[in-house]
């Protein structure tokens, strides 16, 4: 159709740019989709956080800061601080673990690499519900781990290994580990092997070569990986709810309780907005610091 029409209107009503028309056609549906299902809900969430709360879980549109003022109470601040501490600790542990794993995988033979990738992808895709449940079984008094520990004499008597901070931590590391290994994998597979090899011929041990030559080359990806973990875990909900005590509750739990149990939607929305703002602020801060630290990059 375009072939026939093109020569006819070449002179008078020339379309401004045929590519523009194709582009508009291509992007109209995705734009509509994202505006309705992403921008409108986002706007609603922000509007909700300024709304006026009424009895019985109802609310009325408004522009008040009541909910934000509630965020300043020490209890919420403590929970928010805990959420970020938990996320940062998880980030530190999981990046330290994932970095060598990703490096080693990227140096394996093709078959071994694919086996690891399939294994990682399969666990990555597992629902948090199922992983938390699996940890509940694993850490319970009659689960496998306790029996092994008692047999080894590490534990005196069989009792459940949760709820506590360590259980929450281990489960969160488990949840993010496959993501981070896969995130670091491309950077690792692009690394040149010549440099560590050169370091080795000059007498550095493999560990030394790894730490002094490989690690500085991937500083950027490591930092991004850590930030990604923070983003993934700062809103964690189920893991601290099931494997932790109330002291280990996170902003995620407060938000979901506000929405589902206490029915205070405006407060939950304000907490959500605060959480995302803090996240974005942290990202901006890290970007600023890294920019200031290394003007070359």
């Amino acid at each position: 159709m375009t072939d026939l029409a093109a020569p006819l209107k070449a002179d008078d009503t020339e379309p401004r740019n045929p590519d523009q028309m194709v582009l508009a056609g291509l992007l109209s549906l995705p734009t509509l989709f994202l505006v309705i299902l992403c921008l409108v809900p986002l706007f609603l969430l922000v509007q909700l956080s300024f709304a006026h709360r009424e009895d019985g879980g109802l609310w009325r549109a408004g522009l008040e800061l009541t909910q934000y003022r509630q965020l300043l109470n020490p209890q919420f601040l403590r929970v928010a601080l805990f959420s970020f501490t938990l996320a940062l600790t998880t980030a530190l542990i999981s990046v330290i673990l994932a970095f060598p794993v990703a490096y080693f995988i990227s140096r394996m033979k093709r078959r071994a690499q694919i086996t690891w990738l399939v294994g990682l992808l399969s666990t990555l895709s597992l629902s948090e519900v199922l992983i938390v449940f699996s940890f509940q079984v694993l850490l319970s008094g009659s689960g496998g781990l306790v029996k092994v520990l008692v047999a080894l004499g590490v534990m005196e008597s069989a009792h459940s290994l949760y709820p506590n901070f360590a259980a929450v931590m281990v489960c969160l590391v488990y949840l993010v580990l496959p993501y981070i290994i896969l995130f670091l994998y491309p950077a690792m597979s692009q690394l040149d092997d010549d440099m560590p090899a050169a370091a080795a011929t000059m007498g550095a041990s493999p560990l030394r070569a790894f730490l002094t030559v490989v690690a500085p080359m991937v500083k950027g990806p490591l930092l991004s990986a850590g930030l990604l973990v923070v983003i993934f875990t700062v809103g964690s909900y189920l893991t601290p709810l099931v494997l932790g005590r109330p002291q280990q509750w996170t902003v995620g739990i407060l938000i979901s309780n506000g929405a589902m149990t206490t029915g205070n939607l405006p407060l939950a929305a304000a907490q959500a907005v605060a959480l995302v703002s803090l996240m974005v602020g942290l990202l901006g801060l890290v970007r600023l610091l890294t920019k200031a630290g290394s003007p070359a990059s």
Binding site: P30, L37, L121, V129, S140, V234, G235, V242, A259, M260
Partner: protein, 271 residues
Amino acid sequence: MNDGLISTVLRRGFLSLVALFIAAPLVVVIGVSFNQTRRMSFPPTELSLKWYKAFFTDAGWMKSLETSLTISLLAALIAVTIALPIAYAVWRYNSKAAKGLAGVGSGLFLLPGVVTALMFSAFWGMVGHVGRIENVILSHSVILLGVPVAMLSVGFQSIEKALIEAAHTMGAGDAEAFRMVVRPAMTPYILCALVYVFVLSLNEYLIAYMVAGFSVQTLPIRVFTALRSGYEPTMCVGAVIFILLGFAAFSLLAAIGDLPKLMGRNRPLEA
């Protein structure tokens, strides 16, 4: 040489420990699912398939499985259909608008699950369309959109522009070049994106729970509610089915696509 041996042993030992850590909870759940008793104990004292039988004959669990599969299939189809023109416009026209859309998609994917869940529950509440399966399907397809956009972009970038120019010089129009070069090159990436979104949607519970409540019971929601009320041995069977589904899906993905490349490796790999 001794040095090399030590580092090999250390490396193998470290990797084995990580593999053990990754496998441990899964092995325990699989083991418990074959238990004879109601108790949650590992290793199982007596093997039996009775919980599998109970799972597959329970109308509730079967209905949940069906609901889950329906949601994930449709969410995957919608997300990939929306992602395809975005990724194509970024690659072919270097379009700023398309890049913006891709950015919105990946930004949404990075928001904490509770936040998006709350956002969608407010949205569907306002629309006055509560507790319906469509809510979950559409919400999942938006949230996960960033994933197929990223995967399809990798696919488009792998197409040699020279190949398309060659098709053009041989007299092929845009549509023909698309059919001859772009479509065959993209098929594995599209399939991979479908599988990926399918698996992620299959396992998502918080958004599903907050936009549809208890009226649309997906399998993770059932496990989630059971988790809070107490232990049922059939939960383990549900978990095992999900482990197997994910494993099968990604093995399929490794078979149809170049997995290392899809995961971002851009250097050739020895066999």
